[in-house]
Symmetry: C2
Subunit: 334 residues, 2 copies
């Protein structure tokens, strides 16, 4: 649970889409612990990583509604009177997006637009924060990557997430709604789906270490990444919702520490006290979409929102490992 | 009819989506005149500007199929054996896109992805050229705008067209298909729908001049635009299809002449020999989406495709006025 001060949300009505998933459930629990009335809307699409246990086995009371965010008859009454809306729902798998481009477009763009239209009709004054992704940048032209870096996605997921983000910002600018967007780098921590591949490399690394299996990185594993703990992301979502300067703006959310994939794997293995790091050659089908190194310039979030991450990778990973060891149901049974 | 040499298309099988519309019909007729077997696929969505008369009243034989490009049962057999596919279909109205964002997404993105999936399955070796738009850039950060300018659309149409373009280029890069995209500036010429507003300012200017009505520009009409005649666009589409260096690339298609909107209106009035130019204050609801001045750096198209426009605005507008005067059915009856 985040230790950040979410007291301003006490007594407010908050909606979290994707609230049975990784980031959404951490946010929903933190808001509820701070005294907010929280409703999550989550379609529980099997490949998206959501899980009822993310909320069911925790103390704070959160109302969970299983529905697609575009389902007007269900969603419209839920939005009535909402003070804050965190639009976290989405398909995050690169791999799934390439297998099912129309499905990815449905979840990351079309449903988002339909949801925005519902918001515009029912709760135009709600404060909205949308979670976007560093994938919208594609292969970096310079490092660290700031928000002015050109957007040039290299996969279906990046195209659809970018369109979804642009719709959110457009509705802020054209319709006067209070909407901001956060472009998240690689996020890790409690309540991430460990059972599936394709939801980012970090849960795969954590799962393999927890099971004492080798972690395999492609090539020499030299590509740099910055990783941010989900509690720091929850804090960023809260600050974006509370800042009067956030609407209409997009903010990178990353970390000043950056490590090679091989180093990150080593940290996971070290904190788990088991497993090992191995390398294999790049699979031919992935060479074309490798983006090389990435790390984030998040100085805009620091300047405008007063946000910066407080959890380093080694500490955050130790807490993450502890969390899953106490909750073995997150690990797949085989 | 274009006078450019399209001889390389003689005997080839060409598909033109949106081929009952403005640019598509000009292209289809030019390809057919050059001896290609041309099939157009057009959904004749009322707001998109397509019109059967664009082909029906012309000599060259073109097969026209009225269908949505995403309609697999109709489209798949048509694509079988296609050598060249010109993906021109789309919703072009800014205004319509804001009124019906889900409809715009359907036509400019979802249907395009479904069509790409059909192409990938049935005609993966076809050469494909997609028509994109300068609207993907949004408000220019510098002039002239080259292809490296950041994309930052300011309306729904720009977001959806950008996503559609990115899908085309992604399918080239990831699936090895021979697909390129042209970002067109303001296009004018024969076979443009004059009866509807919302399809760009040029057909409105032409219609008003042909009817002897005043042409109204907002503010002082100082915003710069470059305008390109549809015959030059047809030539660019042909060169992009024929160039081995085009696949995977996006090219700006514009004109070295740029004029203020007030000057452009004056040229239209001058060539028509009737009408007048007036100014009114900017409508409040349009101020937020005005992009200011725009003109195009098309040096990449010149360098890679060997393309440059051959028709100046005054000459092209004179030919355009003549075309419509000979075909009064293009003008609305009231």
């Amino acid at each position: 649970m985040t230790t950040h001060n979410l007291a301003p949300f006490a007594g407010t009505s908050c909606i979290v889409t994707g609230g049975l998933g990784f980031i959404g459930s951490n946010l929903a629990l933190a808001l509820a612990a701070a005294g907010a009335r929280v409703t999550v809307i989550d379609a529980l699409v099997p490949t998206h990583g959501g899980d009822r246990r993310n909320l069911d086995r925790e103390d704070p009371a959160v109302r969970a509604v299983v529905a697609n965010i575009a389902d007007r008859s269900v969603v419209e009454p839920l939005l009535d009177g909402a003070g804050y809306v965190f639009a976290v729902a989405g398909q995050v798998s690169h791999h799934e997006s390439m297998l099912d481009p129309l499905g990815d477009l449905e979840h990351n763009t079309r449903s988002q637009v339909a949801f925005l239209e519902l918001l515009r009709a029912v709760a135009p004054d709600a404060v909205v924060v949308h979670t976007s992704t560093r994938q919208v940048y594609g292969r970096p032209r310079y490092l660290p990557v700031d928000e002015d870096h050109p957007t040039s996605p290299v996969d279906v997921n990046g195209i659809d997430k970018l369109a979804g983000e642009q719709f959110h910002l457009l509705y802020s600018k054209v319709h006067g709604m209070r909407i901001s967007a956060l472009r998240l780098t690689n996020v890790y921590g409690p309540r991430q789906c460990l059972a599936r591949d394709g939801l980012g490399f970090l849960p795969v690394f954590v799962r393999r270490a927890l099971r004492g299996e080798p972690i395999t990185v492609f090539g020499e594993g030299e590509q740099l990444r910055d990783c941010v703990h989900v509690d720091d992301v929850v804090h960023a979502l809260a600050l974006a919702a509370l800042s009067p300067d956030a609407p209409g703006e997009v903010f990178n959310i990353g970390h000043p520490e950056h490590h090679s994939l091989r180093e990150i794997a080593g940290i996971v293995v070290g904190e788990a006290g088991q497993g090992e790091v191995t390398t294999i050659a790049w699979p031919a089908e992935l060479v074309g979409i490798d983006i090389g190194s990435f790390h984030t310039d998040f100085s805009k979030a620091k300047r405008v929102l007063g946000w910066e991450p407080s959890i380093g990778l080694a500490e955050g990973m130790a807490r993450t490992i502890d969390f899953y060891r106490e909750r073995p149901w997150y690990l797949p049974s085989t």
